[in-house]
Structures are given as C-alpha cells and as structure tokens.
C-alpha cells in the first residue's frame, strides 16, 4: 500500500486578466467617455456632452430596469412597456400644468414639490395600469413567446391611441419648473441643472434597487427567481405573486422615467414611449437579460455614445448604438452580465 501523496496546496494569486474580467463591463463606461475625449476637440463641450449622456443613460436605466427583471423572472417580453413611459409622461405633465403657481415660483422647495407630485401621480397611474396590463394582456399568454410579443405590441398601440383620444393628437409643450431652468458653469462647461438632477435621481434609484435586491428577503427571492424560478417555487414561494409585484414596480419606474424624459425634452408625444423602447431594448440586450447591474452599465454606455455621436455625426446617433450592440453581442452573445440561463 503506497503512501498518500503529500498534500501541498498551492496558493496562486489570480493573474491580472482574471482579476479584471469581472469588472470589464463597468470599465467600458469610462472607456467610452475617454474615447469621446479623444474625438471631441474641446474639453468643455466634452464635459457638457458627458453630463447629458449620463443623464440620458440614467433615465433610460430607470425605464429599462423593470423590463429586464420582468423578463428575467417570468420569461415575459413586454413590448407594451413603451406605453407606460408615454402614459407616465402625460399624467405627470398634466399634473405639472395643473399647478402653474408652484412651477413658476422661483423657489426650489415649491418646484420640487410640484415635480414630486407629478412623479407620484405618474407612478401611481402607471402602477395601476401595470396591474391591469399584467392581468388582461400578459397573463393569458404566459409561456408563449410569439403570442406575447404580438399581444403586447397590440397593447402598446391601443394605449398610444387612447392617449390620442384623451389628450388630443398634438404634442404638448411644457417648460421646466423655474429653478430647474438654466445651467451652472463648471470648468468652462455649461451643465444644465436639470441634467445634474436627473443623474442624481438615477443614481438614487439604482442604489435603492441594488439595496433591495441584495439586502432584503424580497430581493433574494427575486434574484433567485431570475436564476431558477422552478427551484424558488419548489421551496414554497409563490413566484407568480412576486412577479406581479415586480411587474407593477417596473411599470411605475417606467412612469417615473417618462416624467423625467418629458422634463428633459420639454415636449411629449404619444409615440415617445415607443421610440424610447428601441433604446431600452438595446440596453437590456447589451446588459444581459435579467441583470440590473448590466442594465445600468448598458444604459450609461448608450447614453454617452448617443450624445457623442449626435455631436460628431448627427445622422448616425441611433446607428452607432446598434453598432455598439453588435460589438457587445460578438464579444458576449448573452449580453455583458448574463444572469438568466438560456431557456
């Protein structure tokens, strides 16, 4: 009987490449910003563009976060998500137009209360819509992708047309509340106040979502559900109820995104949600379906790239984002941070 070999474990540090790999997606955002710095001649316009790119990215993230979780949890792809963005914007703007005294006053407090009211109304409206939409449109076609896509597209059209019926066929122009107008000058670059606020709100939403997903029981169930729904059900949790909750939360977030986008563009149309949906899809494909972090990184990349190309070659803004998506899919076919196992 021979002796057992010596047990001599080797402790080897991971090499640099292995240690960096998990952070590569996050590093792509500064990389795009740096590339922008190379091509854009003046530093101050680069700074302006970067801030507006980040602001746009944050808003896209807010719109997209719910959609990616909805897909991850129940394998449901909701083309009707764009309608929530539009409805949120219209409800929010209606509220803002109802309180002209508060938005025109040169007081930060009153202005923020007005925006807050608009946001709450929009999120309530889209949240309730989410409950109805989930029940009427999505639930009867669980598990059938083809029907899901078709029927949610139908829902998108009907809601867009209903917006026309209730708010009229024309676009509605609005102005931002008094203290959110204008820009501050920093290092020679004009930074619009509203964009800075949007970046702030986006960061808060991201951190809050991350906190809920990582440090609460509900978040644990959601994350587990994204990875393996059957197992979560086998452990005794009613994943359908969790899903309804996520669906409603995602719809409400889309409403928030809609209000923010309305204040950013200062004009709203019934089709704005459908148009944003294209960028939202690009973002969730880039990020990896079901991944909130991937969605966040993807949204920032898309926002930055969109603004840089809109400055350099205005005609190619959307094309550049499709190019980015193609590159990412060549590199990681499941998206940057794949969470959902291929079903």
């Amino acid at each position: 009987m021979s002796q057992a070999p010596d047990h001599a474990p080797t402790m080897q540090r991971l090499n640099l490449v292995q240690r960096i790999t998990p952070f590569v997606p996050a590093l792509l955002v500064p990389l795009i910003a740096l590339l922008g710095l190379l091509f854009i001649p003046s530093g101050s316009s680069w700074l302006t563009l970067t801030v507006s790119g980040l602001a746009m990215g944050m808003m896209i993230f807010i719109m997209a976060a719910g959609l990616t979780l909805i897909f991850g949890l129940m394998d449901v792809i909701n083309f009707g998500h764009g309608a929530f963005i539009s409805v949120g914007a219209f409800v929010g703007v209606t509220v803002l137009l109802l309180v002209p005294g508060m938005t025109a006053a040169p007081s930060v407090g009153l202005n923020l209360v007005a925006v807050g009211l608009a946001v709450i109304a929009a999120m309530l409206a889209t949240g309730v819509m989410g409950v109805v939409f989930e029940r009427v449109i999505v639930r009867p076609v669980y598990g059938a992708h083809l029907k899901q896509i078709l029927i949610t597209v139908g829902g998108l059209i009907v809601i867009e047309q209903l917006i026309h019926v209730f708010w009229g066929p024309d676009e509605i122009f609005l102005t931002r509340p008094e203290t959110l107008k204008g820009a501050i000058t920093f290092a020679g670059a004009a930074l619009e106040k509203y964009r800075l606020l949007a970046v702030g709100v986006g960061l808060v939403v991201f951190l809050a979502m991350r906190h809920v997903l990582r440090h609460t029981k509900l978040g644990l169930i959601v994350r587990a559900g994204v990875e393996n729904g059957e197992m979560v059900q086998a452990l005794g949790y009613d994943i359908k109820r969790v899903f309804v909750l996520v669906f409603v939360a995602g719809s409400a977030l889309a409403g928030l995104g809609g209000v923010m986008w309305a204040l950013y563009q200062e004009v709203i149309t019934a089709h704005m949600g459908g148009q944003m949906l294209i960028l939202v899809f690009i973002v969730i494909i880039i990020g990896g379906l079901g991944s909130v972090e991937g969605c966040f990184i993807g949204a920032l990349m898309v926002g930055l790239l969109q603004n840089y190309t809109a400055f350099l070659v205005p005609k190619l803004a959307l094309v550049s984002n499709i190019g980015l998506m193609m590159l990412i899919l060549m590199w990681r076919p499941q998206g940057m941070i794949p969470v959902v196992k291929a079903k």
């Binding site: 792809i77 029907k147 029927i151 829902g155 059209i157 026309h164 899809f281 959307l318 899919l329």
Partner: protein, 352 residues
C-alpha cells in the same frame, strides 16, 4: 395539373375553396369587372400585400420568428428600383438591376441580423429587428439628397407600363388597352407566381423542418436539424421576397416614400393581416390581405360618417374619428389573438 400547381396543399374546406376561387377570379379580371381607378388600385394593393403577408408568414407562421423589419426589406426593394430608375434612366434594365440589387441588400441585411440574434435567442430577433428597422427609417428620411427624405421620390417608370402607352387602339369590354393594364397584369402574375412558389416551399421538406422547429425547436435540434441554419435561411428568403414585393409596389405606385414603404404602421397592417387570415397557412395571407385592404379602403369612410353622426355625444366621436383607425385595429388584433388564434382559415378548416 391543378394539384401540382398548388403543391397538393388544398384549402381543405369547401367554403374556403369558394372564397379563394372568388378572390382569384376577381383579381384576375379586376380591370374588366370593376372599372375605375380606385378599384384597380385596391386590387393591385391586395396583390402586393398578398406577397408581403405570405412572405412574412413564412417567418412568423412557419419559422416561429417575430420580425419587425419586414417593411424595411419591403422599403429596400422599393428604393432599389426608385434609385436605379433615377440614376440609370427609364428602362427595364434599370428596373431589373434595382430589383436584384435591392434583393441582394435585403438578403445580406437579413443574414447579418439573423446571425446576431437567432444564434442566441429567437426573441432577440424581435427586439433587434425593431431597432434596425427604425434606424433605417431614420436614415432614409435624413439622407434626403439621395432618397428625397420625407417627401419620397416620384418614379419615371418605363413608358410601356404607363397609361400613355397604348398597344391597341380600341377599347375591349370598355377597358383601355394601355400600359396601366399591362402594369396591373405584371403585378397580378408576379403575385400568382410568387404565391405558388411559396406554397411549394412550405410543402417541401424544408417547410416540414420549419414547422417542426416552430413546434419544438429543442426536439428538432435533437433530431439532427440545425435550427439556426433553417431559421436564418427562412429569414433570408422571406426578406428577398419582401424586397421583390417592394420593387413591384414602387412600379405600381410610381412613387416611394417612408410613409408608403417603411413606416411602422404598415408593419402593423402586415401583422394584423397574418393574424386575421391565419398564421401558418399560405391561404391565410390571401384572405387576410383581401379582407384588410378592402376594410381599410372602404371602412375608414364609414368611420368618418359614424363620427359625424355621433358628434353630439361626448368622447364617442373622438373614438370613432377616422384618425383613430389604429385604435380599433389594435383592439381587433388583441381579440383575434385571444379568441381567434388560427384565423379565418383555421376556423373554416375546423368547421368542416
């Protein structure tokens, strides 16, 4: 002979056979049966949408893939002919060149999109085609020096296809024997031939494999068929036929523009036609396109009348406004997917 022409795929329902025969005869003799410009225009529209919808159904009903870029391929074909006629002069050579170039471009684009999305997940395809199609629509309206932008382009088609060309001096059965008639019959026979070709395709072994993939992709792969290859192939074929339909459409209208070829509204029309007619049957495309184009042409007038008649009531005139046509389409679309998933053809076949 007839069985061979329709590849042994009979309508399998007496009512359906009668309806199809009636549609075929009406379209074949449309210039003689329904005199006037508008009915002839409607008939040509029906023909072109039959090709477009049938080619879309190859993908949706047989391949189980949802695409939102079918109008993009349609538009590529239309703009291909328009650009070649603009730059190569008014000849059939230019028409042929533009058509072939459009088809090749459509095939290449379809291949690239399919490779990027179908390889990973079939539903990526729906999202990516939506993005690419809207990017192309934006590009077309922005590069206005080349494409005419939102205004589109008016085509100078070969003289033999215009009303100015007369090949017989006397009227036959009250119809002028001019280029317009030739143009219509070019549209009609192209539709007939392409339809029979597609019918042959879905009844071939290739079509059977597609149906197997639609039913259960995993099992089809396990049996030994390369799912990605088949899905890519059907996407490319469908895109080429759509481009061809676009070229014919451009010749018929003598105009191309984003609203008539590239808009998302047309994409919705196609979806609705497929669903109404019945997914996964070529005959569904015929029924869907005919019903839909007729409804679109004549129902919108009716909606206008209804809206005026109810103008005293609140909200209802807004709902019945002809501009809200899409609202009712959307509702109809959702209801037909719920209650009518096999479409008219499926119903008729089931009822025998």
């Amino acid at each position: 002979m007839l069985m061979k022409l329709i590849s042994g795929d009979t309508p399998r329902s007496p009512i359906l056979s009668v309806i199809l025969a009636a549609i075929l005869l009406s379209l074949a003799f449309a210039p003689f049966l329904f005199p006037g410009t508008r009915p002839l225009d409607t008939a040509a529209h029906i023909c072109i949408f039959i090709i477009l919808v049938a080619s879309y159904d190859l993908m949706l009903g047989y391949g189980g893939i949802v695409s939102f870029a079918h109008t993009m391929f349609f538009g590529i074909g239309a703009y291909g002919v328009a650009l070649s006629l603009e730059h190569m002069g008014r000849s059939f050579g230019a028409v042929a060149f533009g058509t072939v170039a459009g088809m090749i471009l459509a095939a290449a684009l379809a291949f690239v999109i399919a490779m990027f999305s179908l390889r990973v997940r079939a539903i990526f395809f729906a999202m990516i085609t939506l993005a690419v199609a809207s990017a192309v629509a934006v590009l077309v309206s922005q590069f206005s020096t080349l494409t005419g932008g939102e205004d589109g382009m008016t085509l100078k088609i070969p003289r033999e296809l215009t009303p100015a060309f007369k090949f017989h001096d006397e009227k036959i059965l009250g119809v002028r024997m001019n280029g317009k008639l030739l143009n219509y019959y070019m549209v009609f026979f192209s539709t007939l031939i392409l339809f029979l070709v597609m019918l042959r395709m879905v009844n071939s072994p290739f079509g059977s494999v597609l149906k197997a993939i639609r039913e259960n992709a995993f099992r089809a792969e396990a049996v030994g068929y390369r799912v990605v290859v088949y899905r890519t192939a059907v996407t490319v074929i469908s895109a080429m036929i759509a481009a061809l339909a676009g070229a014919i459409y451009a010749l018929w209208l003598r105009y191309v523009g984003p609203a008539t070829t590239l808009s998302f509204d047309i994409m919705l029309d196609i979806l609705l036609m497929v669903v109404i007619g019945g997914m996964g049957t070529m005959y569904g495309a015929v029924i869907g396109a005919t019903v839909f184009v007729l409804a679109q042409t004549y129902l919108q007038d009716l909606m206008g009348t209804a809206s005026d008649a109810t103008s005293a009531l609140p909200l209802i005139p807004d709902l019945l406004n002809p501009d809200r046509w899409l609202l009712w389409l959307g509702v109809l679309f959702i209801l037909s997917i719920y209650f009518f998933p096999t479409g008219v053809v499926g119903r008729l076949r089931g009822a025998k």
